[in-house]
């Protein structure tokens, strides 16, 4: 190599290293007298210009600052492509309407940034890293699938971005002591035990087969159902796991069929659930009931199973009371996207609520600084989302507990009759 080039290369590499090690959030310049701005109670935003340096310096995660003309972004990580894309598309569309309805915060508009996380842990971490390094993201309405959420929570924890998930139901998510994760979806503890009770008491199933896809969500749910079903007095005759992403599960289903279960509980998503439902007849499980979860509900399941899907169960959030706001949303969604909310996934209204709740909380903590920029103190926002009390949304009224659970509902069960989802017998 040319003698001249070597030192140039070394200098370039050193420059890249130094650039990469620059701190993400620039600390606010020290100023004069500071008030002890408590980060505990959310401050009511005042229109009089407050000193941003004071509040931001005392906030452990700093402030997100927005110059006039920029948008305040709410992020969302959802499966937008692949076999479960209908969930991501449906929920992000509900959230888009919420963000438009939220108006503006002191003149700054909101924007939804929905990114594809494929519904798995790798995608969730990738999207979380992307959001964490984007200073204009103040909160995340997500993620949507539990596996992606579990991978994303530690990343948001480090930078102080609060989460409000409309659909991540895995119970373990609120047991990690995370300060940023909250959810308005019911937990799988409730979903699983309700499903087991329903199977044993209402459907009179004595022998149950558990099949799951190995994900946090699927396996977690199957375990809870199995435990509760055994406690109720039933017998779990076989438990098998499938590999997601494949198209042929006849071998696993044949092994399951050899134990002659009365019903097959599937913990997983529509992509695999539809295939299993389709292949149950040819593997000797034609007499068994297919019992899915909130991840197998939707129009996609109906189109992919056709006649094979008759009599398949799934669970959804309990129907919330009708209101003027809900009717307005239903009309707006139908007009904008051509489908009624709740057909692609059960979480359309929850998606609206998550984004709307986050926007309203941002409005309570954001303030305009003396320099004309909008400031959102991050720790105050995290605490404010955790302290959500009596928030009336389209899918229910939510009050967050100290661990981030904002919803203690049990699910409602639906069944496929004549090619459509109808409420199942009580």
């Amino acid at each position: 190599m040319n003698k001249f080039l070597k030192p140039v290369f070394v200098l370039c590499i050193a420059a890249f290293l130094f650039a990469g090690c620059a701190p993400a959030a620039t600390p606010a310049p020290t100023a004069a007298a500071t008030e002890a701005a408590t980060a505990a109670a959310p401050t009511v935003a005042s229109t009089t210009a407050a000193a941003p340096e004071a509040v931001c310096a005392s906030d452990p995660f700093g402030c997100a600052s927005f110059a006039p003309g920029t948008t305040v972004k709410i992020g969302m990580g959802a499966p937008m492509t692949g076999g479960n894309a209908s969930y991501g598309i449906d929920i992000s569309q509900g959230a888009t309407i919420a963000v438009a309805d939220a108006g503006d915060v002191h003149g700054w508009k909101f924007e939804l940034d929905a990114e594809d996380d494929q519904g798995n842990a790798e995608g969730g971490a990738a999207v979380a890293n992307k959001f964490a390094s984007d200073p204009s993201i103040v909160a995340v309405a997500g993620h949507i699938f539990s596996g992606a959420t579990a991978a994303a929570v530690p990343i948001y924890e480090k930078v102080g971005i609060p989460m409000l998930s409309p659909s991540a139901t895995n119970p373990a998510l609120t047991t990690t002591g995370s300060k940023v994760f909250n959810r308005i979806a019911f937990t799988d503890t409730n979903q699983g035990s309700a499903a087991a009770d329903y199977l044993f008491n209402t459907l009179k199933v004595k022998n149950l087969a558990l099949v799951h896809d190995g994900s946090d969500y699927g396996k977690g749910l199957a375990d809870i159902v199995g435990a509760q079903f055994t406690k109720d007095g039933g017998a779990v005759v076989v438990e098998q796991a499938i590999t997601p992403g494949e198209t042929d599960y006849t071998a696993v289903l044949s092994a399951v069929a050899s134990k002659s279960p009365d019903a097959l509980f599937f913990g997983g998503y529509t992509a695999e659930g539809a295939i299993i439902c389709n292949q149950m007849k040819q593997t000797g499980l034609d007499k068994a009931i297919f019992f899915g979860d909130d991840g197998t509900y939707g129009a996609d399941f109906l189109t992919r199973t056709g006649a094979n899907g008759e009599g398949a169960y799934a669970s959804i959030a309990p129907a919330s009371p009708d209101s003027a706001a809900k009717d307005a949303f239903n009309t707006a969604y139908l007009d904008q996207f051509g489908k009624a909310p709740g057909t692609l996934s059960p979480y359309t209204w929850a998606g609206y609520d998550a984004a709307a709740a986050l926007a309203s909380v941002v409005k309570t903590v954001a303030f305009v600084g003396s320099d004309g920029k909008l400031y959102v103190p991050r720790t105050a926002l995290v605490t404010a989302v955790r302290n959500l009390k009596g928030y009336v949304g389209l899918s229910g009224t939510f009050t967050c507990q100290s661990n981030g659970e904002c919803n203690v509902d049990k699910p409602q069960f639906v069944v496929v009759k004549s090619g459509a989802w109808v409420p199942a017998q009580q």
């Binding site: 894309a85 499938i242 042929d248 006849t250 071998a251 044949s254 069929a257 050899s258």
Partner: protein, 364 residues
């Protein structure tokens, strides 16, 4: 003194390494026999109806893998190049078949539609269109991504193949949206329907689509084998595989032969794609990825470059994946682990694969 000890050491280490193979084989073999004994003699977890179902599932899966592996192994046999974009060519064929079936389903004739009135003809059209589109894709793939790199070291076309695979996946995703497409089969080929036999008071179904894919892969293998062994094109292909320069000196048009190889491989991938759609139903831009990998594994297992080897490798892989976990009493989630462990063990003992020889009967 030192020279003696070092050569002594080398001799001893070589003797030791010679022992590792039979030792490893012995351990794995003993473990497999032990597990088989526990499952088959001691435990009896499954009845004959379940074993039949598992066997049928294995044969069908094997048929599907063989179908994709045949095209894979052809390209390697002629050009010694692993065409990683083969799965994507197959996916494009599957998409073409989907659009043909959708179009024919929409043409109304009396109280039915074209698809069901002329069912056999519709299936034939779908296959022809699928194979043509895939063949064209294969031709352009070779022309754009591989021909300019013919003089480059062997790894460079491999990377180009991976790039082509990613390009094709994303092109299809952008052109046709990432949503899953559901194949509309003609009624005589409804997915899940089949002949029923009663074993042990239980109905075992042999699916129509499964038998179709098995028969199709066998037929295509025979046709391809005949082409390679009996026709002028086949002779040219074997000559190019043996020695490109000498073949050119003997009057073989090397460029044209290689293009024709890719066209043939593309047509096979197209047939595999349409068959995949008919049998499995759901296609989207990523459908080709897993079959591509499985076909590569099957081809290597059977002896890459060897045409009957691809069929054997595919059947072997299908049966191991379906019956293996049941026969060994392990979790079905570990089927891929089992398949790849067996692949490694086979390669340790026979690095050229089960059937070993290459297409031109010459190893480069």
């Amino acid at each position: 003194m030192t020279a003696d000890t070092s050569s002594d050491l080398r001799r001893k280490s070589r003797q030791l390494i010679k022992l590792i193979r039979p030792l490893l084989g012995g351990i794995v073999g003993l473990f497999l026999v032990y597990r088989l004994y526990i499952v088959l003699i001691v435990e009896h977890p499954y009845g004959p109806d379940t074993w039949t179902r598992l066997l049928i599932a294995g044969l069908i899966l094997g048929g599907v893998y063989s179908l994709v592996a045949i095209g894979y192994t052809l390209v390697y046999g002629i050009l010694f190049m692993i065409n990683f974009a083969h799965g994507e060519v197959m996916m494009i064929g599957a998409f073409s078949g989907y659009f043909v079936f959708e179009a024919l389903n929409a043409i109304k004739i009396q109280d039915s539609n074209f698809l069901n009135t002329y069912a056999y003809f519709s299936v034939l059209i779908a296959f022809i269109v699928g194979m043509t589109v895939s063949a064209l894709t294969g031709y352009f793939l070779e022309k754009i991504a591989y021909r300019p790199l013919r003089k480059a070291p062997r790894l460079v076309p491999l990377i180009s193949a991976i790039g082509a695979s990613i390009f094709l996946q994303n092109a299809v995703e952008l052109l046709f949206s990432p949503q899953l497409r559901n194949y509309t089969n003609p009624t005589f080929l409804t997915r899940g329907a089949g002949w029923t036999i009663n074993i042990n008071h239980s109905n075992v179904i042999i699916p129509y689509t499964g038998v179709f894919s098995f028969v199709l892969s066998a037929v295509l293998l025979i046709i391809l084998y005949t082409i390679v062994r009996k026709t002028r094109l086949g002779r040219a292909m074997r000559a190019v595989a043996l020695d490109k320069k000498t073949a050119a000196l003997m009057g073989v048009d090397v460029d044209s032969t290689i293009s024709k190889t890719f066209i043939l491989s593309g047509a096979l991938a197209g047939a595999a794609g349409v068959m995949w759609g008919i049998h499995n139903g759901l296609v989207y831009y990523y459908t080709g990825f897993i079959p591509g990998i499985k076909a590569f594994t099957a081809a290597v297992l059977g002896g890459i470059g060897n045409l009957p080897g691809a069929m054997l490798g595919g059947m072997f892989l299908g049966i191991v994946e379906s019956m293996g976990p049941a026969a060994l009493g392990i979790d079905f989630q570990l089927k891929d682990v089992l398949a790849f462990v067996i692949l490694i063990v086979v390669l340790i003992f026979k690095p050229s694969g089960l059937l070993g020889e290459s297409l031109a009967e010459e190893k480069v």
